[in-house]
Subunit: 175 residues, 2 copies
Amino acid sequence: MITVMRLGHRIERDKRLSTHVALSGRALGCDKMVYSGEKDARLEQSVRKVAENWGGDFEIVHERDWKHAISKFDGIKVHLTMYGMPFERKISEIRKKTKRRNLLIIVGGEKVPHEVYQQADYNLQVTGQPHSEVAALALFLHELFKGKELERKFKGAKMKVIPQERGKLVKKKMA
Amino acid sequence: MITVMRLGHRIERDKRLSTHVALSGRALGCDKMVYSGEKDARLEQSVRKVAENWGGDFEIVHERDWKHAISKFDGIKVHLTMYGMPFERKISEIRKKTKRRNLLIIVGGEKVPHEVYQQADYNLQVTGQPHSEVAALALFLHELFKGKELERKFKGAKMKVIPQERGKLVKKKMA
């Protein structure tokens, strides 16, 4: 079970980025997103709507007390931050450990409290350049799964893309 | 030379996502971002500020006429869209072609006009799931460069992260 945790969500500022974190997490192999900060009914709705239409069991849950949630988490805790160690050096170690244990991937908002750095088992950078938690999460998951996440099937999907050279084709399952 | 083109930028709605597209592009091997839609001085400033501090020659340019810009582009044109063909099947072909030619990677906003699908040499999906143009761009570049983009150096950087197990260390170059 892989959970992505989004810290410090603010409705006005982060609505779209947090949606992208959730949907990228879902598309690339996470089972769940937990987010702290402001509770956002529209964020939750839009993510649940995608999961309902496109299949799988992805969940989104608001967490009031992120410190408690991180400390009680039973599994490997990875914090993605540009200040950490290069993720590519640690990924095979993490891959092995998560065969038997759950994984929590923490991505920050603007300012990540120092407790997160302390509580994480790994603080990892996806390059040391400032860029995007969405890109960092995607690359981390891609290396964790060695690209197999691209073949992931989503059970119970009502909608499915049929790949095209040009144009759009979506297969819709009638209820 | 690799250019990422962001279509249909709207200042209010897209400011942060377009910034993430630009910065992920920069961090992962693009030379330039062109964007259409509303011209956004703050987006440009914040991207230029990062390039100034963190090094390299990344540029950001607003383009009024995206149709013309795409049609006149001299090189391979890739459009990332969930409706396209799986990118992993085409990436080695594109890698070969771009050894001698420029590459334009087009990422959309909400609704991408059908002309883009027509003008692109490749319409490619990074999974057929709805997720994020930032994640799609990151994975495309990562496979294009076979992970070598993670070792990229940025010339003339004033700031540089020194990777840490815990905490933050940034080396600042004094002028």
